[in-house]
């Protein structure tokens, strides 16, 4: 414990030193990591946002730099969920490919220091040298909480500094302390005396934390009640749920209405470029490639960027506000009825953006059974890659009318599609519970409800720009490559001389489409849809660029894709395709992440299989019902 009083032999060069940031969830650890390293990473307010290994280099004022890793948040070394296991193993030197850190940076939320202080006391037993950071000191001071860092340092026997990761100069004390430690030489670790605590040890640690807080932390006479006052409304049994539903509804209406002007702008931009190409590039194979593959394909996907960003903006804001844990609280009983854990709400809500981070967020669920169920149903939530497909078909087939004066009919259909995804996810998990886990009682639900915090604009901006870059990168690589492939398939071989039909009918694309037609014809899909669905396995939104390419090459490249579809498909086919995409067998990256997170290829095939069956049966029923009702 006396790591800083006794002179120690100088350790290795600073660049070889490894500093590990450890702290409980919601202590601002990730923001501190960003501020230290200048790295770009999302800062969240829900337990378990940091599930991946984050490493960087921190530049200190002295010019030295030091390696920093950001370990997943945990309340104790008694790890339960997979991400907490990572932290425990790294700190205890059990991790197979991560060496023991030379110095721990233990982070406590200065406005709610108890869990961070208990963690610091527990970590002291590992014998690793450490610095305690009382983080978000600005919020603590604002709430009237005073921290006596000298008293903390005396009692714990480690250096203690305060920090504020979002203000300039907020890390000065930490930087100075790290430089001082480097100048002295990082102490050798002491013996590791940690062992899993029993209930009696935990009681003792609480008493010790009580004494420490009594000595070093002065709390205001009137505690902050703002969170409680807000929660009286937002966690109200009835208004709370109503608010959550209204919030989700507004979110999906906003995705449509706010994005429209921006989307028109992007569309117009590509129209201008297309016109330029048509005017200046001689007609032939090069012009066809530029117009039909590059502009129609990639442009057709890029136009959805505004919608995807608006959806992510809502999710990021709710995360940072601290509302996500409240949503889990409100949804626990409803989801529990379907055999899901309240905590599954966050992975499932993230899956609205993309199933891949959603499935990864399921790591915060410590019970394996709950985690597996969540992973299996997460792809049923409507991910943003389906938005392009939905939007295209809805705008082509659903009239832009208003219902009851204010609600857009198109928005309502979209809401219905999302609702269908949610209902089917609940139904599938209830079925899984009934089939596999009927006799087992459900595991406990325990969750921190962090105090509300205003989202930091910078952190939201970083999160949004990361998403935008990822989407643009996908559009530029995977989507572009697949679009070119479809264009090649749709262009070659050329039609024989003197052919009377459009040239695409002689292409490879038509051959593949005709091959799949027997499976897809009963659900109302023509071969053009079949051609677009195959590359859609790489990323769902490619189905849109696929259709654009197939129909553009088919001749009519001047009118908008929606108009072409409206002219070529029956309403029954359009509805059938919408239902297909509720359950759509998901993209390759989702399958790969299921295999990794669930721990086995059989879960991947199970997911693929059940979704394919649901999609086919759902589309079959929809198509034939619609035909019966005269929409064929």
């Amino acid at each position: 414990m006396d790591c800083c009083d006794t002179p120690a032999p100088a350790a290795a060069r600073p660049d070889d030193l490894r500093l590990a940031i450890v702290g409980p969830p919601n202590c601002g650890k990730t923001a501190l990591f960003n501020a230290l390293t200048g790295s770009r990473q999302h800062v969240g307010n829900y337990s378990g946002v940091t599930v991946e290994r984050k490493a960087g280099l921190a530049k200190l004022p002295s010019g030295a730099s030091i390696g920093v890793i950001d370990l997943p948040g945990t309340h104790s070394l008694r790890a339960r969920s997979p991400d907490e296991v990572v932290t425990r193993d790294v700190v205890l030197g059990r991790h197979h490919n991560e060496r023991v850190p030379d110095l721990l940076l233990v982070v406590a939320d200065a406005s709610a220091p108890r869990s961070g202080l208990r963690l610091a006391m527990e970590l002291a037993a590992t014998g690793l040298p450490m610095v305690l950071v009382m983080n978000m000191i600005d919020i603590a001071r604002h709430r009237g909480i005073e921290i006596d860092t000298n008293a903390l340092s005396e009692t714990l026997g480690v250096p203690v500094v305060t920090a504020n990761s979002v203000r300039k100069g907020g890390l000065d004390a930490l930087h100075a302390e790290l430089d001082a430690i480097l100048a002295r030489g990082v102490p050798e670790p002491g013996p590791n005396l940690w062992s899993p605590p029993n209930a009696a040890d935990l009681r003792l640690s609480h008493r010790a934390a009580d004494r420490l807080i009594a000595r070093a932390v002065t709390e205001p006479e009137l505690p902050d009640t703002l969170t409680n006052r807000i929660d009286r409304v937002l966690l109200h049994p009835v208004f709370g749920l109503v608010f959550l539903l209204v919030l989700l509804f507004v979110m999906f209406q906003a995705v449509f209405t706010w994005a429209a002007p921006l989307m028109d702008l992007i569309d117009a931009g590509f129209g201008v470029v297309g016109g330029f190409v048509a005017a200046h590039v001689p007609a032939g194979i090069v012009q066809s490639f530029l117009l039909d593959a590059v502009i129609a394909g990639v442009g057709g996907v890029l136009v959805f960027l505004p919608q995807i960003l608006i959806l992510f903006l809502f999710i990021l804001l709710l995360e940072d506000l601290g509302y996500m844990a409240r949503a889990a609280f409100l949804m626990d009983k409803i989801m529990g009825g379907a055999g899901l854990h309240g905590r599954a709400f966050i992975p499932l809500l993230s899956s609205f953006a993309c199933a891949v981070p959603g499935i990864m967020a399921a790591r915060v669920i410590d019970n394996r059974r709950d985690r597996l169920t969540t992973i299996l149903v997460a792809p049923l939530m409507t991910c943003s890659a389906r938005i392009p497909v939905y939007t295209l078909i809805i705008s082509a087939f659903i009239p832009a009318r208003h219902v009851l004066g204010v609600l857009s009919l198109q928005g309502l259909v979209m809401f219905g599609l999302y609702a269908a995804g949610i209902v089917s996810a609940l139904a599938v998990s209830a079925a899984a519970k009934f089939m596999f886990w009927r006799r087992e009682p459900s595991p406990p639900f325990m969750l921190d409800l962090p105090d509300y915090k205003l989202p930091r604009p910078r952190s939201v901006a970083i999160g949004l720009s990361t998403r935008a870059k990822a989407f643009l990168k996908r559009a530029g690589t995977t989507i572009f490559a697949m679009t070119v492939l479809i264009w090649l398939l749709a262009t070659f071989p050329f039609a024989p001389a003197g052919a009377t039909e459009p040239p695409i009918l002689y292409s490879f694309a038509a051959m593949i489409g005709h091959l799949l037609e027997p499976i897809l014809a009963p659900i109302g899909f023509n071969w053009q849809i079949a051609v677009a669905l195959v590359p859609g396995m790489a990323a769902r939104e490619i189905a849109v660029s696929g259709l654009a390419t197939v129909y553009a090459v088919g001749g009519d490249s001047t009118s908008a894709l929606g108009a072409i579809l409206a002219a070529n498909w029956s309403l029954a086919t359009a509805l059938s395709l919408l239902v297909w995409y509720i359950f759509a067998p998901q993209c390759i990256s989702t399958l790969a992440v299921i295999r990794r997170e669930a721990g086995g290829a059989r879960w991947m095939w199970l997911t693929f299989g059940y979704m394919f069956v649901l999609a086919w049966v759902g589309s079959f029923v929809t198509y034939h019902l619609a035909v019966l009702l005269g929409a064929g």
Binding site: A199, T227, D231, P444, F445, M446, D451
Partner: protein, 103 residues
Amino acid sequence: MMISPQPIDAASLPGHVPEAAHRPLGALHRGFSGHVFRILPAAHSNTLPAEEMERRLIELGFVEGARVAILHEGLFGRDPIAVRVNGATVALRRREAMAILVS
């Protein structure tokens, strides 16, 4: 396993008050405010061993003597509940809260 749910145990604790004053937190309603008297998980948690349940509740801050207050309740069956304990707010289901005896 170190927990036996018999009331004799509770009675033998120092500072014991008549048994009627101790009620499980899981049976109480919004607005309740009091102190944790004892953690008695054996009879109520059936997925986790009682000892593990006890440790998890202690980790959340449910230590003997801690001030607790029920702040919010869910809609269906008034479940789960949000409890203020030790300056933090935690959510848990009533079934788990049955293991927390309060006075």
